[in-house]
Symmetry: C2
Subunit: 163 residues, 2 copies
């Protein structure tokens, strides 16, 4: 298999949030409505924030820095059956990359003020992309084991199962 | 700023597609309707694919391996004005991480057969997540400089501007 050499990324900033421990957190932005946080961007990258304030929603790609190891089979927060990790959004993944769409309230200098934050305090941020419905919304989707379980998301909190 | 040390990831597989050069490609899955490709998963991770076939759409997170360098200000394919890179989906980013939602047609052993592929052949795959409308769809969004330009996406092709 070609190009399987390791890949190195450097955080572009740090996410700040009210969540200091991994238990008791919302498990998706849909369960974090109104929760505010912020992002401090490394001064080296400030020029890249130009034009971002026109977007109401941002895709954040970040590193699950507290995920020490991964399992290929996990029991997700919304289920009591083990599932293949790639069929879940669990944090302990072979490459522990997190993805959340948050609301952007405003930008002041090196700080982005965000809302609907389901991310733990101190998380290293890897990338920001604008959320664009024409690119990111797909209809007529099947959602496998999550069918009928997705409605529980807004009220479901995390526990200590992923370490 | 805490935790700004480099992060290392190892590809979990390779994406195969009809696109062999960076010019002339669709610029989003919305412009790649019906384009088929596949993913070869590293045998070490096959157990993680369990339950994935129930989902019709997958979020692929991958490494833009042909992006040699980045610029903080870029002229995106859909515009003729320089924009902050984080307000675009351009491939030459500080951390060149790509994100596409593709259709999953079927899985056979180590191969995922996918559709609506806007990704170049040989791209290293970092993560697969199930696409779940309850997690991933947001309404009432503002899309800044892309307003009125997003309609051009299905017909717009890439050129050689990003190297």
């Amino acid at each position: 298999m070609p190009i399987m050499t390791p890949i190195r990324y450097k955080p572009i900033g740090v996410i700040q949030s009210p969540f200091k421990t991994r238990a008791g957190m919302p498990i998706q932005p849909a369960g974090a409505e109104g929760v505010r946080g912020s992002i401090k961007i490394d001064p080296d990258y400030l020029e890249g924030l130009k034009d971002l304030e026109g977007f109401s929603h941002l895709i954040l790609i970040y590193h699950f820095h507290l995920s020490a190891d991964f399992k290929l089979s996990v029991v997700p927060f919304l289920d009591d059956t083990p599932r293949g990790v790639f069929a879940t959004r669990a944090p302990n993944r072979p490459n522990p990359i997190g993805l959340s769409v948050v609301k952007l309230n405003r930008i002041e200098d090196d700080t982005l003020y965000i809302e609907n934050v389901d991310i733990i305090d101190g998380t290293p941020l890897l990338d920001i992309k604008p959320y664009v419905p024409a690119f990111d919304v797909f209809k007529y989707t099947k959602i496998g084991w999550l069918t009928a379980k997705e409605k529980a998301v807004p009220k479901k909190k995390s526990d200590n199962r992923f370490k």
